[in-house]
């Protein structure tokens, strides 16, 4: 009987070197799996937001002309979604030199900053300004978040004087 006990540690000790690649493999697998899982979830959330934004825009643009403030607000109230969202109208001047770009930074700059860019008309009965904006929650947007969808469409609005003019419809949805 030949006894070879050189280097013998024990039942596990003999297989210890082989445990290292197994351990490394498991670490790699779970790290990649976790990364892919998070990425998959983030993408799905973004697609859901996009889908909601498309549905909101379809409802808001269903009529070729928004005839007045009440018509616009009625459309806003008919939108049912669990997501945080807002939609508002901004002037689209026919004179391109007067065109002003509205960035997300500007939209979220301060609580009442919307008064500078959201289209408004004086309410003849109440003598105050009606802002064409669905919700009053622009200050809740976190500009650093990657989960913000911003859609822009042209739209026609009939003003109080009866004339129709082009406007920009912004739809913002975020998480």
């Amino acid at each position: 009987m030949i006894k070879n006990k050189k280097g013998f540690i024990g039942a596990i000790g003999d297989d210890l070197p082989s445990l290292i690649p197994i351990f490394v493999g498991l670490v790699i697998f779970f790290a990649v799996f976790l990364n892919v899982f998070n990425d998959y979830n983030a993408k799905n959330k973004l697609f859901n937001l996009n889908q909601e934004a498309v549905e909101i825009s379809m409802q808001l643009k269903s009529d070729p002309v928004i005839i007045d403030y009440d018509h616009f607000m009625e459309k806003c109230e008919n939108i049912k979604t669990t997501k945080k969202w807002n939609a508002f109208l901004v002037d689209l001047p026919l004179d391109t030199e007067q065109f002003e770009l509205i960035s997300l930074e500007k939209i979220t700059r301060s609580k009442n900053s919307y008064e500078d860019f959201v289209f408004s008309e004086i309410d003849p009965n109440l003598n105050n300004y009606n802002y064409y904006m669905c919700n009053d929650n622009l200050d809740e947007i976190d500009i650093r978040s990657h989960k913000i969808i911003n859609f822009l469409y042209p739209l026609t609005l009939q003003r109080q004087d009866g004339k129709t003019s082009p406007k920009r419809l912004y739809i913002i949805i975020w998480e």
């Binding site: 030949i2 070879n4 003999d14 297989d15 070197p17 082989s18 445990l19 290292i20 690649p21 197994i22 490394v24 493999g25 498991l26 790699i28 697998f29 990649v32 799996f33 990364n35 892919v36 990425d39 998959y40 993408k43 799905n44 697609f47 996009n50 889908q51 498309v54 825009s57 379809m58 643009k61 070729p64 002309v65 689209l92 001047p93 026919l94 004179d95 391109t96 030199e97 065109f99 770009l101 859609f151 822009l152 469409y153 042209p154 739209l155 026609t156 009866g162 004339k163 129709t164 003019s165 082009p166 920009r168 419809l169």
Partner: protein, 249 residues
């Protein structure tokens, strides 16, 4: 003797197994990464397509439902005008007596804005309304046309491109008079992606006291600005686009 050799190599089988295991894990991880990188590409593309399709649809509606002044002046920015109507109404009214929009037979002609009471008011308003409504989408080129489907001829054809000059992007606007749709197809083939919307329309016209209809189509096609489509290409006579550039504001 062989038994001794084997006893010296003990543990190597387990090592080989674990290395195989590691190889399989690495391959699996590569596959997972590949899945992650490509996941949603198609959904993203279809959302993008849907968005721009909706954008062009909305633009067409907005163009035709925008009011223009009917006081025979070209100051379309004036807020003091009393008589206004939808642009589409003005275009149809213009088309009725002579089966064309504007005064000239050449649809790429647009008279000077300083001339009052001329026959190009509806055409002038159409040109500037499209220009301003498409202005927010500044990184995109586009064509807008009205086509008479009965006679296979264009009633109106407008083209806008962006051109890079001295590190500055310059927007250029053209009115064209292509004899057929084929040069237009050749033009848009140079773009990477195109998004397009069309709407059918009916125009009425009068000839020697009798009125008839023509079936027309309004089309707006947009694409991300491409260096392949530049003014040199557009103004090249071999293209048969027969364009003229309009630089007035």
């Amino acid at each position: 003797m062989k038994l001794i050799e084997l006893k010296k190599n003990k543990g190597q089988a387990a090592m080989t197994d674990s290395l195989f295991f590691l190889t399989i894990i690495v391959a699996l991880s590569v596959l997972l990464f590949k899945f992650s990188a490509t996941y949603g590409e198609r959904i993203d593309l279809s959302i993008n397509n849907l968005y721009f399709k909706e954008y062009t649809n909305s633009t067409l509606k907005t163009i035709f439902y925008t009011d223009i002044p009917l006081d025979f002046g070209k100051n379309i920015y004036s807020e003091n005008t009393f008589e206004t109507d939808y642009l589409i109404t003005a275009l149809k009214t213009d088309f009725l007596p002579d089966k064309k929009i504007g005064a000239s037979e050449d649809i790429s002609e647009l008279s000077d804005a300083s001339l009052p009471n001329d026959r190009d008011i509806a055409k002038y308003n159409l040109f500037h309304t499209i220009k301003s409504i498409m202005y927010p989408l500044s990184n995109y080129d586009y064509i807008f046309y009205l086509e008479n489907r009965n006679d296979d001829e264009f009633i109106y054809f407008m083209l806008k491109i962006n051109e890079l000059n001295d590190n500055q992007i310059e927007s250029k606007y053209f009115l064209c008079n292509p004899l057929s749709i084929s040069p237009v197809r050749t033009l848009v083939q140079n773009a990477n992606k195109i998004y397009s919307s069309s709407t059918p329309m009916i125009f009425r016209y009068t000839v020697r006291g009798t009125t008839d209809n023509i079936n027309a189509v309004a089309n707006l096609t947009i694409w991300p600005s491409s260096i392949k489509i530049n003014s040199e290409y557009i103004l090249d006579e071999e293209n048969n686009l027969r364009c003229k550039e309009y630089t007035e504001d």
